[in-house]
């Protein structure tokens, strides 16, 4: 267990270092949430009051957080495959799931910046008020949301172990999840058949937890669901990594050649 935690810690640290050393990564991380936030504010500022703008602002922050998680999960495996470190990481005795947790957590951690940037952008340029209704629960809801998103990222990354081009599919999931998770518009406005999908997604509950701790409500339930979903994603991720790794060794898809 201690060994696994050490691998997660160093994986998280070195992934952050790797991302910090790429101009493209830094630019993406800085610009993306500000762009999303601006679009959201322009969409809602005419019709909405201060509370609506804050609600949208937090949704936009989660758009950035989700984009970072998704991009991190896809990019990490693809980069490892192209620089041929994937085989080395998989053939190490530490289960690959453990190293994936560290790198996926790093992407979600970077995504936290989008929350700060979105709120600051809204405050400075669009006069969006920022008052926390439940500061302590807000502090609890953030790590719960990051953890659940990171573990959802692992489920997606696991498919990339087996399918070399699954990153294209993963990228396509960015916008549908914004809609399904109610980041830009309430889930109640979506057709009924979308609701089960919405409730299975970490961004839905992460955004709900953060919104309710900022705007008022009972965020504890959403925080609890985030943690429960994280546990479910971990089990699915374990199952996927275990099986996809074996299939990849059977089908010889770990290397590019």
């Amino acid at each position: 267990m201690l060994q696994a935690l050490r691998v997660i810690r160093i994986g998280w640290l070195l992934q952050l270092k790797t991302m910090a050393r790429s101009g493209f990564d830094i630019l993406t991380v800085i610009v993306t949430p500000i762009t999303y936030a601006s679009i959201a504010f322009f969409l809602y500022r005419r019709g909405g009051g201060a509370e609506t703008l804050l609600w949208v602002s937090l949704g936009a922050a989660f758009m950035g957080l989700w984009a970072s998680t998704l991009w991190g999960a896809g990019n990490n495996i693809q980069r490892q495959r192209s620089q041929q470190t994937l085989e080395f990481a998989i053939a190490a005795p530490t289960p690959f799931l453990v190293s994936l947790i560290g790198t996926s957590l790093a992407s979600s951690t970077v995504g936290l910046y989008s929350l700060v940037a979105t709120l600051a952008w809204g405050r400075l340029l669009f006069d969006v008020p920022l008052e926390l209704e439940h500061p302590i629960l807000f502090a609890l809801s953030l790590p719960a949301a990051v953890l659940s998103l990171a573990l959802l990222g692992i489920v997606m990354a696991a498919t990339l172990i087996l399918y070399r081009y699954a990153w294209a599919l993963a990228n396509m999931l960015e916008y549908p999840v914004w809609l399904a998770a109610g980041l830009l518009a309430p889930i109640a406005l979506l057709p009924g058949w979308v609701h089960p999908i919405s409730y299975a997604l970490a961004p839905t509950w992460g955004a709900k937890a953060v919104r309710e701790s900022v705007l008022g409500g009972s965020p504890l339930i959403a925080i609890g669901v985030c943690l429960a979903l994280a546990a479910i994603y971990l089990v699915i991720g374990f199952f996927f990594v275990q099986n996809f790794e074996r299939l990849a060794r059977q089908r010889a898809t770990l290397a590019l050649s």
Binding site: V7, L14, R21, F88, A91, T94, R249, Q250, A252
Partner: protein, 339 residues
């Protein structure tokens, strides 16, 4: 496999594994597709029933041309590929059923300049793999320092890998492969693309591995390297082992013949083909040497074929002609050509 006496790491002390690595009738098939609209599925047999064993402390060479199945064989042994059929054991454990057990006790180094985290320093690369291989945190720093010293990267460990030369990357690969002090090491063309001085240093490092009791499987294209380092060699061609033995035994296979070398300028393929068809010729290879080529013709014993060879090169500008004793490279060429 038999038992008694001392043991490598991780194996009960009363058990001595004589054959540290065993491959029994290993086969590996790849599925591939051709065409864009009308896609056709193809099966490529990369390894076709390979069997060999490596004794404790032995340096075993696997030689073969590109695409012969060397890397596929190694990847099956290090648990990265599951064999289509056959069995492979490392330290007595099946590489498919006991993959994790095997992974803890093997190290591997692939040739080439990939396989490292480019944006990280050598130190970060080694720290990460030290954790992945469960190297004790207390001894981690000392072990990394020891290996950096061994591979000559001390003082450069904080630089990013993306700025490293090919030789430095190769040396870092070796350090990475030895982090957990594995008793069995797989080296897949470790000196490929490395400059002569760097390659010589790497060979000295490889030789020191068996001196410290490790069992090594080495693949290489360089015959002199295999000749100098390996206790035994298997030659693999078209996915099958075509010969196995000590370097001396392999050389003996062609030692009864002789080799005629002819410098030519602009020789055509049809002339080479004519030479191959000449009675008494075992193999012909052509090496490009700037504006000229060197024809290496292996001949059967007791025959003086120099005149016949030159007569087949009618119209071709011929330079120096010489004859010599066969080397391991000649043995290799003869074996691979015949396969």
């Amino acid at each position: 496999m038999s038992t008694s006496g001392a043991s490598p790491f991780g194996v009960p002390s009363k058990v001595r594994i004589v054959n540290v690595v065993e491959a029994v009738e290993l086969r590996r098939t790849y599925k591939t597709t051709t065409g864009t609209i009308r896609r056709r599925s193809l099966e490529v047999e990369a390894v076709r029933g390979v069997s060999f064993s490596i004794a404790e402390g032995e340096l075993f060479g696997l030689l073969g041309p590109n695409g012969a199945g060397k890397t596929t064989t190694i990847k099956m042994l290090i648990t990265l590929l599951i064999p289509t059929s056959g069995e492979a054991r490392v330290l007595g454990h099946d590489v498919v059923k006991d993959a994790r057990w095997v992974r803890e006790r093997i190290g591997y180094v692939f040739g080439g300049d990939r396989g490292l985290y480019e944006r990280l320093s050598a130190m970060d690369n080694l720290r990460y793999f030290a954790e992945l291989y469960g190297v004790e945190p207390k001894g981690q720093r000392a072990r990394i320092d020891e290996l950096l010293e061994l591979v000559g990267l001390k003082g450069r460990e904080k630089e990013r890998v993306e700025g490293y030369s090919r030789g430095m990357r190769q040396r870092l690969h070796i350090a990475r492969g030895l982090l957990h002090d594995p008793p069995v090491v797989f080296l897949d063309e470790p000196t490929i693309g490395v400059d002569p001085v760097g390659a010589r240093e790497l060979r000295a490092t490889i030789a020191s591995l068996t001196a410290s009791g490790k069992t090594v499987l080495l693949t290489t294209h360089y015959m002199f390297e295999a000749d100098a380092l390996c206790d035994r060699i298997a030659v693999i061609a078209n996915g099958e082992i075509v010969a196995q033995g000590t370097p001396r035994e392999l050389k003996a296979g062609v030692a009864d013949g002789s080799v005629v070398e002819v410098e030519v300028f602009g020789v055509e393929e049809r002339s080479v083909e004519r030479l191959r068809e000449l009675a008494g010729v075992r193999a012909v290879t052509v090496e490009d040497r700037e504006q000229k080529q060197l024809l290496i013709v292996q001949t059967a014993p007791g025959l003086e074929l120099t005149h016949a060879i030159l007569s087949q090169l009618d119209g071709v500008s011929v330079g120096r002609v010489s004859s010599r004793e066969p080397t391991l490279e000649d043995a290799y060429v003869a074996l691979v050509t015949a396969a």
